[in-house]
C-alpha cells in the first residue's frame, strides 16, 4: 500500500508543445479592455453586476449630492477609490479571460501551423481522360482525388486509393521514421511524401479537420458551456440571487429602520459577497483545460469529452503501444543439448545481422553485451540473406568462407528493399566454397522436415512461453541449437502511470491478442490485475458494453476501422491520428502523436480540470465569511456603535471596506496562474484528495482572506 506514487507533473511529463510566446501581450491587454464593454459581459452576469455597481459608485463620485442620504458629499475621495477598485475587478476578470483564450489560441495555432495552405494536385477525370490540375489545399472538397508524388506535402486529410508510398509524418506526430501507406490507409494533412507516388481521396472539407474543430473550441465566445460549467453557473446564479436579495433587504431596512447607510459601502459588500472569483475565472479554467490537452497534442472534439475523461473509472489499455513498446527484446540465450550459450549467441548474432527490425537489433545488442561477437563477422559481407518469409516463418543467412571479399551483387539493394517488399520467391545467391546456414524463427516452424530438433526442445519452449515471454529458435546447418528469449519491453513510465491511475480508484484493464499465459505475466509486471486475452479488434466493442453495463465510465483507444464501434460506444474514445478516418470520426478525442499511452494523461487532465473548478468555487464561496466580518461592523457602526465588537480583525473604520474590496479584486489575478495551470495534485484515493482539497481551498478559503484583508488594511493604514 505504501507504494510511492509520483506527483502529477512527473506522471504527465513535460508538455509537448510550448505555450510560449507568453500570452500577456499588448494584444491581450487591448482585448481585455475591449471586453469591458457591458455587451460583451452579458455572458458573465456576475461581472456585469460588478460593472453596473461601478457605474453607480462612479455616479456617486461625480454627483454625491444626488445620492443623499445614501451618500456623504465629503466622502467623494472614497467613492472614487471604490469605483476604481470595482472597475479593476472587472478588468482582472476580462484579463484572465483574454489571457486564457490567447494561451489556448497560441497552442492551438502551434498545432494549426501544421495545416497551412499548401499546393495540391487535383486529379480531374473526364471520361477516360485524367487530368492533373494544380490548386491550393483550401480549394479541395471532400471526395476530391489528389495526386501525391515524392516531396509533396499532403494538403489535407485523405485516404490512399492507389499506390504504396513512404510518408514522413514527423512534423505532425513527432515519429521520425517514415510510415508505409497503402490503399485504405489515411494520410494526415501536413505530412510529407518521402518516396513513390499515389493517389488519394480527400476525407474532409477545409475547416472540418480536427485542427479546425480544435481552434473553434478555444474561441471563448463560441465555446459551448460543458454540463459541468452549466451546473457551476447555476451555483453562481443561485448565490448571486441570494446576495442580491440580502443587499436589497439591507437597503430597504436601512430606510425603514432609519439606519444611515452609505450606498457605496453596501455596494462594496454586495460585490465582495458575489462569487466574483469563480465568476471571473470559470471561463479561463475551461479554456486552460483544453490548452493543457493541446500542449500534449491531444485534440478534444468537445469540452464535455475532457470532463467525461475525468469521470472515467475504467480504462481499457491495448497492451501493444500502451504498456509495451510494441517490439519484443532479446534477453537471454538458451542453449539446447550439448551446445553452449556462446554458440547460440554467436549464431543468433549472425542470423540477425541483416535483420533490421527492433527485435533483430535487440539480438545483436544482447549478443554484443555478452561478448558473443562471432569470428565469422567478416564472412557476413559475403553472405546470402534469407529474408523473412511468411511460408517458412524464418529468416537467416548463409555464410561463405574462403572466397574473396566481394560484396554479392544486389545484396545491398535487397537489404534495403526487404523492408518494403516481402517477396518469398526471391532467392539468395549461391556461392561456392565452405558454407554455413543459420536460420532463426518461431519454434514450431522448425518442426517441419529438414531440421534436427534436439530433446528437451518442446519443454524449453513451453517454459519460456509460460513465463510470459516469446521463444525464438536458432538453427545452425539444419540443427536447432538453442532458443533466444524475447521479452516484451514495458514502455518507460507506464508503470508509474498505472500506479497513479490505480491510486485514483480507476481500474486499468489490459487488452491483448496474446495468449492468457503471456498476458497475465505482462499485466502483473505493470501492476494490472485485470486483462482480457486473445482479443480480436472487433471484440473491443463488447468489452466496452460489458463495462458500461456494470455502470463504469469507460475510456479506450483505437486506430483501426474495427475499433470504430468501440470508440463510439466508449465514454471517452481516443483515436490515434495515424488511424483510419472511421476511427477518428467515432472517437471524441484524437492524439496527433498517435501514442496510445496518452489515454492515461487524458484522464488525469480531465480530473485536474474538474478539480480546479471545484477548488476555485469552494475558495470563492468560503472567502465571503471574512469579507462579512470586515464590512458589516463598519456598515452598521454609525447606527449601532455596539457592533464595533464584531470588528474582530481590528480594521480601520476608513480602510476596512477598501481592504475587503482590494482583496476581492486582487485574488483574481493571484489565482490566474492556478486557473491556467490547474490544481496540482498527487494521484491518490478520492477521499484523500477530497480531504486535502477541502482543507486547502475550503478551510484555507475561510482563513486566507482574514489574513489578506488584515495585511492590506495595515498597508493602507501606513499609506
Amino acid at each position: 500500500m505504501a507504494r510511492h506514487v509520483p506527483g502529477l507533473d512527473r506522471v504527465l511529463g513535460r508538455a509537448r508543445v510550448s505555450r510560449r510566446p507568453s500570452a500577456l501581450t499588448a494584444k491581450t491587454l487591448t482585448e481585455s479592455v475591449v471586453r469591458l464593454s457591458p455587451a460583451s459581459l452579458l455572458s458573465n452576469p456576475v461581472m456585469l453586476i460588478v460593472e453596473l455597481a461601478f457605474f453607480v459608485v462612479a455616479a456617486m463620485a461625480a454627483f454625491p449630492h444626488a445620492f443623499v442620504p445614501f451618500a456623504n458629499p465629503g466622502d467623494r475621495g472614497f467613492y472614487v477609490e471604490v469605483a476604481a477598485i470595482l472597475l479593476v475587478t472587472v478588468w482582472f476578470s476580462t484579463l484572465s479571460d483574454s489571457l486564457a483564450e490567447q494561451q489556448a489560441k497560441n497552442t492551438a495555432n502551434a498545432l494549426k501551423q501544421l495545416e497551412t495552405e499548401v499546393p495540391a494536385k487535383k486529379v480531374v477525370t473526364e471520361g477516360w481522360e485524367r487530368e492533373i490540375v494544380r490548386t491550393r489545399s483550401t480549394m479541395l472538397r471532400k471526395g476530391d482525388l489528389i495526386l501525391l508524388e515524392k516531396g509533396d506535402v499532403v494538403p489535407v486529410d485523405a485516404e490512399v486509393l492507389e499506390g504504396i508510398a513512404m510518408v514522413d509524418e514527423s512534423l505532425v506526430t513527432g515519429e521520425s521514421a517514415p510510415v508505409r501507406k497503402a490503399p485504405g490507409d489515411s494520410l494526415i494533412g501536413g505530412s510529407k511524401v518521402a518516396s513513390d507516388t499515389m493517389t488519394a481521396r480527400v476525407a474532409v472539407n477545409p475547416g472540418e479537420s480536427y485542427l479546425d474543430q480544435m481552434v473553434r473550441l478555444v474561441e471563448s465566445s463560441k465555446r459551448p458551456k460543458t454540463p459541468n460549467e452549466v451546473a457551476i453557473t447555476m451555483v453562481i446564479f443561485g448565490l448571486s440571487a441570494v446576495f442580491t436579495i440580502i443587499v436589497a433587504s439591507i437597503l430597504g431596512l436601512s430606510v425603514a429602520l432609519g439606519l444611515s447607510l452609505d450606498l457605496s459601502v453596501l455596494i462594496a459588500l454586495y460585490v465582495c459577497l458575489l462569487p466574483t472569483t469563480i465568476g471571473a475565472l470559470l471561463p479561463a479554467i475551461g479554456l486552460s483545460g483544453i490548452s493543457r490537452l493541446y500542449e500534449r497534442k491531444v485534440v478534444a472534439k468537445s469540452g464535455k469529452a475532457i470532463e467525461t475523461a475525468g469521470d472515467t473509472d475504467a480504462i481499457l489499455l491495448d497492451k501493444t503501444g500502451t504498456i509495451t513498446v510494441g517490439n519484443r527484446q532479446a534477453v537471454e540465450m538458451m542453449p539446447l543439448g550439448a551446445r553452449t550459450e556462446k554458440e547460440v549467441g554467436e549464431a543468433a548474432f549472425l542470423s540477425s545481422w541483416f535483420d533490421d527490425t527492433p527485435e533483430g537489433r535487440s539480438v545483436i545488442r544482447l549478443a554484443h553485451e555478452k561478448g558473443f561477437v562471432p569470428r565469422e563477422l567478416n564472412a557476413l559481407s559475403l553472405s546470402e540473406v534469407y529474408d523473412f518469409s511468411a511460408q517458412t516463418r524464418t529468416s537467416g543467412v548463409k555464410l561463405h568462407f574462403g572466397s574473396s571479399f566481394v560484396l554479392p551483387k544486389g545484396s545491398v539493394q535487397r537489404i534495403r528493399r526487404k523492408f518494403f517488399l516481402e517477396d518469398p520467391s526471391e532467392q539468395g545467391m549461391h556461392l561456392s566454397g565452405e558454407e554455413t546456414e543459420i536460420v532463426k524463427g518461431a519454434p514450431d516452424s522448425f518442426l517441419r522436415s529438414g531440421f534436427i530438433v534436439p530433446k528437451g526442445f518442446q519443454e524449453l519452449v513451453d517454459t519460456v512461453a509460460s513465463e510470459g515471454d516469446t521463444p525464438m529458435a536458432v538453427a545452425k546447418d539444419h540443427e536447432v541449437i538453442g532458443l533466444v528469449r524475447l521479452k516484451d519491453v514495458l514502455k518507460p513510465g507506464t508503470r508509474e502511470k498505472i500506479e497513479a491511475v490505480k491510486a485514483m480508484g480507476i481500474r486499468p484493464v489490459m487488452i491483448t491478442g496474446d495468449q492468457p499465459l503471456t498476458a497475465r505475466s505482462i499485466a502483473s509486471e505493470v501492476g494490472i490485475e485485470e486483462f482480457v486475452a486473445k482479443v480480436k479488434p472487433e471484440d473491443k466493442y463488447s468489452i466496452v458494453l460489458k463495462e458500461q453495463s456494470q455502470n463504469h465510465v469507460v475510456a479506450m483507444i483505437g486506430d483501426g476501422t474495427n475499433d470504430a464501434p468501440a470508440l463510439a460506444a466508449a465514454d471517452v474514445g481516443l483515436a490515434m491520428n495515424s488511424g483510419t478516418e472511421a476511427a477518428k470520426e467515432a472517437a471524441n478525442m484524437v492524439d496527433l502523436e498517435s501514442n496510445p499511452a496518452k489515454i492515461i494523461d487524458v484522464v488525469l487532465l480531465g480530473k485536474q480540470l474538474l478539480m480546479t473548478r471545484g477548488a476555485v468555487t469552494a475558495f470563492s464561496i468560503s472567502n465571503d465569511v471574512a469579507k462579512y466580518f470586515a464590512i458589516l461592523p463598519v456598515m452598521f457602526a454609525t447606527a449601532f456603535p455596539a457592533l464595533r465588537s464584531l470588528n474582530i480583525l481590528g480594521l480601520g473604520l476608513q480602510t476596512a471596506v477598501l481592504s475587503a474590496l482590494i482583496f476581492n479584486a486582487i485574488v483574481i489575478p493571484l489565482l490566474i496562474p492556478l486557473a491556467m495551470r490547474g490544481v496540482t495534485f498527487k494521484p491518490s484515493s478520492t477521499m484523500s484528495l477530497f480531504l486535502r482539497n477541502v482543507l486547502i481551498y475550503g478551510v484555507g478559503g475561510v482563513v486566507v482572506p482574514f489574513v489578506g484583508i488584515k495585511l492590506i488594511d495595515m498597508l493602507l493604514g501606513v499609506l
Binding site: 459541468n228 440580502i246 463504469h552 465569511v625 449601532f640 455596539a642
Partner: protein
C-alpha cells in the same frame, strides 16, 4: 453557562431520543415499505375500507407530479374543511363556552398555519376555540400535516434510491403513517400525559374556590390528546395561548422532559430509517452527524449566555435552563411549542433558535427535516465533490445542472420568504399596529418581526408576537409565507427525486458520503451557507441585542 448536572440532562435526553429513534426506525421502515407486520390482520381491512371510500387504488404507483398533486390536493382540501369549522364554530357542537366563529383572516391564517405543520397562533386557544374546533380543526390538521411530512420524505427517498422506478402512492403512505405510526404513538403518549396530570375532558371549564377563598376558573379541556400530536408531529400549536408554559399543558418537570423528548422522537427515527429506506444503512451517518452535530452547536451557543433561574417570561417551574433547552429543541425540530415566553430567553438563546429555523434540519420537522438535510447534502456534494476530480454524484447518480438548479431554487425560497415580508412589515408600517411596538429598541423590534417570518417560513410556529399579530397584514403575510415555505421546497425536492428515477448510477468510487469526513464537511458547508445568507440580519437582531448587553427581549 450551564453546570455539570444540566449538561448531563441534555446528554441524557438526546441519548434517549437517539436510542429510541434507532429502535423505532425498523418498524417505521416496515410501514413505509409495506412489509407485512403483525398489525396487518387488524389494520388491513380498515385501510382497505379507507382506500375504497376515497377511491384510491393502493397498487398504483406515482411519479413526482402525481405525488405532489395528491399532496397539495389533500392538504388544501383538509385546510378548507378546517376553515369551515373555525369560522362556523359558533353554531357547531361541543362549544360549552359559546365562543363565536373566528374572523376569516384569522381562520385563514390558522388553517394554513396548522395545515403546513407550522402552528403559528395568532389567537389564544382557551379564549377563542371551542372543544370541537380544538379536536377537529386543530388536531385534525396536526395529524394530517405531520403524516404529509413523513410521506413526502418517503417519496423523496424512493426517488433517490438506486434503481428507483416511482415515488410510491401518496394515499397509501398517508393512511399507513396515520394508522400505524402517528395514531398509536399519540394514543400512548396522551395516556402517559394524562397519568402525569394533563387534563383530557370535554366537560367545560370548571370554577372552583381556592383555599384562600377566592374563585378560580380552571380552563380544562381535551388537552392531553392535543399535546401528544403537537409534540410528536412537530406541530407546536398548543391548546393554550401560553402553550406549554401553561400548567395544564405541561404541569411538571417530568412532563417537560417527556415533551422535549417527544419533539425529537420521530425526526430522529426518520434519520435512522433513511439509511434503510435508501438501501444503504451507512448513509444515515452524514444525516445523523450533520443534524445532531449542528444541534450541539445550537445548544452550545444558547448555553453560552447567562441563564438566570428566574426572570421575566420564564416559568419558575422550569427555570432558565429548561426554558432555554426547550427553545433550542423546539426550533431545531421546527416544532414551535414553548414552555416560556421567548421574550425571557437571552439573545444567544434566540440566536440559536434562529439557527434551528434557518437550517430546518437539526433534525428538523417531521419528514421535511431529512429532506432539507438531503438538499444540503446535494449542494455540498456538488461543490466539494468536484474537488475530487470527478463529476459529483450522490448515491451513484451524477448531479446534473438541473439538479443544482432545483436545489439552488429550493435554497432561495427561505431567504425570499423571510426577508421580503420582514421588509414589507417595516416599510408599510404594519408593525405599528402591534401594541407597544414603537417603544421597543430597534434590536428587539427587529428580532421579533424577523422571527415571526423566520418561524413561518421554517414551519416552526413559535413567535414573540402571538395574538398581538392578529392583524390582517400579519395574518395574510404569515399565511403566505407558511404556505410557500412548506409546499414550494416540497415540490422542488420531489421534482429532484423524480428526476433521479431511472437515472444511470455509476459504480461508486467517487466521494464517499457515508463517512465521518464528509459529515463534518457537511456541517461546515451548512453553517457557511446559512451564515452567509442571514448573518447581516442576525447582526441587526439577536447579535445586536447581545452586544448592547441585553439579557432578554422584554423591551
Amino acid at each position: 453557562m450551564i453546570d455539570a448536572i444540566q449538561s448531563l440532562i441534555v446528554v441524557a435526553i438526546l441519548a434517549s431520543t437517539l436510542i429510541s429513534g434507532s429502535l423505532l426506525a425498523p418498524y417505521v421502515v416496515r410501514v413505509l415499505t409495506g412489509t407485512p407486520t403483525r398489525l396487518d390482520r387488524l389494520l388491513d381491512p380498515l385501510e382497505s375500507a379507507v382506500y375504497r371510500l376515497i377511491g384510491a387504488d393502493p397498487k398504483m404507483t406515482m411519479g413526482w407530479r402525481e405525488y405532489l398533486f395528491a399532496v397539495i390536493l389533500l392538504n388544501v382540501a383538509q385546510m378548507a374543511i378546517a376553515f369551515a369549522i373555525l369560522v362556523g364554530q359558533g353554531v357547531l357542537p361541543l362549544n360549552p363556552m359559546g365562543f363565536p366563529g373566528l374572523s376569516w383572516d384569522l381562520a385563514f391564517n390558522t388553517v394554513v398555519s396548522f395545515g403546513t405543520n407550522t402552528n403559528l397562533q395568532h389567537y389564544a386557544g382557551e379564549t377563542a376555540l371551542s372543544y370541537f374546533s380544538q379536536m377537529t380543526a386543530i388536531q385534525f390538521l396536526q395529524f394530517t400535516s405531520a403524516a404529509t411530512g413523513v410521506c413526502v420524505m418517503a417519496a423523496m427517498v424512493r426517488g433517490l434510491r438506486p434503481g428507483s422506478s416511482h415515488l410510491g402512492n401518496f394515499y397509501v403512505d398517508f393512511v399507513r403513517v396515520l394508522t400505524r405510526i402517528l395514531l398509536p404513538l399519540c394514543a400512548v403518549a396522551a395516556l402517559v400525559l394524562v397519568a402525569l396530570g394533563v387534563p383530557q375532558t370535554v366537560g367545560g371549564y370548571v370554577t372552583v374556590k381556592t383555599v384562600e377563598g377566592a374563585t378560580q376558573r380552571l380552563l380544562i379541556g381535551p388537552v392531553a390528546s392535543l399535546v401528544s400530536i403537537m409534540q410528536i408531529g412537530t406541530n407546536g400549536g398548543g391548546y393554550f395561548g401560553a402553550n406549554s408554559a401553561y400548567p395544564f399543558q405541561n404541569p411538571t418537570p417530568v412532563t417537560d422532559v417527556l415533551e422535549i423528548y417527544l419533539m425529537l422522537l420521530i425526526p430522529t427515527t426518520l434519520i435512522f430509517a433513511f439509511g434503510e429506506l435508501i438501501g444503504r444503512k451507512k448513509e444515515t451517518r452524514p444525516i445523523l452527524i450533520g443534524s445532531y452535530g449542528l444541534l450541539a452547536v445550537d445548544l452550545a451557543v444558547a448555553f453560552l449566555g447567562s441563564i438566570p433561574a428566574v426572570g421575566p417570561g420564564i416559568e419558575t417551574r422550569f427555570g432558565g435552563f429548561f426554558s432555554t433547552f426547550w427553545t433550542v429543541i423546539t426550533t431545531a425540530s421546527t416544532t414551535g411549542s414553548l414552555n416560556a415566553s421567548l421574550t425571557g430567553i437571552n439573545p444567544l438563546g434566540i440566536l440559536s433558535a434562529y439557527m434551528g429555523m434557518l437550517v430546518q434540519a437539526t433534525p428538523g420537522g417531521i419528514g421535511v427535516g431529512v429532506m432539507y438535510m438531503l438538499m444540503y447534502v446535494v449542494i455540498t456534494v456538488f461543490v466539494v465533490g468536484l474537488m475530487t476530480g470527478r463529476t459529483p454524484e450522490y448515491l451513484g447518480a451524477k448531479i446534473t445542472a438541473r439538479d443544482v438548479k432545483l436545489v439552488m431554487v429550493a435554497f432561495l425560497v427561505h431567504p425570499i420568504a423571510i426577508l421580503v415580508p420582514t421588509l414589507a412589515a417595516f416599510a408599510t408600517k404594519a408593525v405599528d399596529a402591534i401594541p407597544g411596538f414603537s417603544s421597543l429598541p430597534t434590536s428587539v423590534a427587529f428580532t421579533q418581526v424577523l422571527y415571526e417570518f423566520t418561524s413561518s417560513a421554517a414551519n416552526n410556529g413559535s413567535d414573540f408576537l402571538g395574538a398581538a399579530a392578529n392583524t390582517p397584514f400579519f395574518n395574510f403575510a404569515t399565511a403566505a409565507v407558511m404556505f410557500v415555505g412548506r409546499f414550494v421546497p416540497i415540490a422542488i425536492l420531489l421534482a429532484l427525486a423524480g428526476s433521479m428515477i431511472g437515472r444511470k448510477r455509476v459504480a461508486e468510487q467517487s466521494l464517499r458520503t457515508d463517512g465521518a469526513a464528509f459529515s463534518f464537511v457537511l456541517i461546515g458547508s451548512i453553517l457557511l451557507l446559512v451564515v452567509l445568507t442571514f448573518l447581516p440580519f442576525l447582526i441587526l437582531g439577536p447579535l445586536l441585542a447581545y452586544f448592547q448587553g441585553l439579557v432578554n427581549f422584554v423591551g
